[in-house]
Symmetry: none
Subunit: 123 residues, 2 copies
Amino acid sequence: MSEGSSPEIVLALEIDDPALAERLAKLLGNVTGLRLAAPGESAAAAIVARDPRIMPDDIALTQRELDVLALMAEGASNKMIARQLGISVHTVKFHVGSLLDKLDATGRTDAVAHAARRGVIEL
Amino acid sequence: MSEGSSPEIVLALEIDDPALAERLAKLLGNVTGLRLAAPGESAAAAIVARDPRIMPDDIALTQRELDVLALMAEGASNKMIARQLGISVHTVKFHVGSLLDKLDATGRTDAVAHAARRGVIEL
DNA sequence: TCATGTCCTGGCCACCCGGCCAGTTTCGCC
DNA sequence: GGCGAAACTGGCCGGGTGGCCAGGACATGA
């Protein structure tokens, strides 16, 4: 069912810059034969930023925060992270709190997603 | 873009598949406010191919699960997802449970990470 | 010396999460 | 019609999470 006359081309818009993303979305929104992918939808092609200006250095993560972040990305709970790093759960929460703050995330899942998007961590 | 000047967005088309590239070029060719980059020209963004070998069929997620998963990747809580989808929190938890099971994840953060790794979702 | 920043720890608490039980409707397939 | 899958909803509850308060140790640099 994929090939044939004219199936819509699904494009994923993966631009960090909100202004550029919005302009592109508006421009591409009413192009017939083309559709922007919903979040998570698999697309035929993706629009990515040409200039990887993704990681602003004003958000500098400390080594310990990177440690915690990496384990968070593995799905580890605070307790597991504490055990792994040999520190207390309270300290883990402290670092997680800093992470949420610096990454502008609402929760640990959001933090991991943001970090992955920015290339801070590799999934 | 307050004035009617030309904040043209230059897009680089970097698709290997000639058929897809041509279709995209044709579709994007006559979109005002947008221009395809000449070879070598610096562009604001690029259109790249999306590897289509992404959805392993051994883990088949339902449409609803994909909806929930996408919102999870945005850092949404169960309550937010419920509001967004117009369903109850219990139903969201039901789908999240299925997701954790199918993706073999220990929690929602792990589920999002696994899904991203497998290409089920795009971050 | 004093200030700053990182890292570490504790308690407390409201809320969220995930797993368990139970049920309903709707849909396509045999 | 029966039957399973998907989607939906409810209650309950132990444990996890995140935000707030407090503090101390240690190194760097002004």
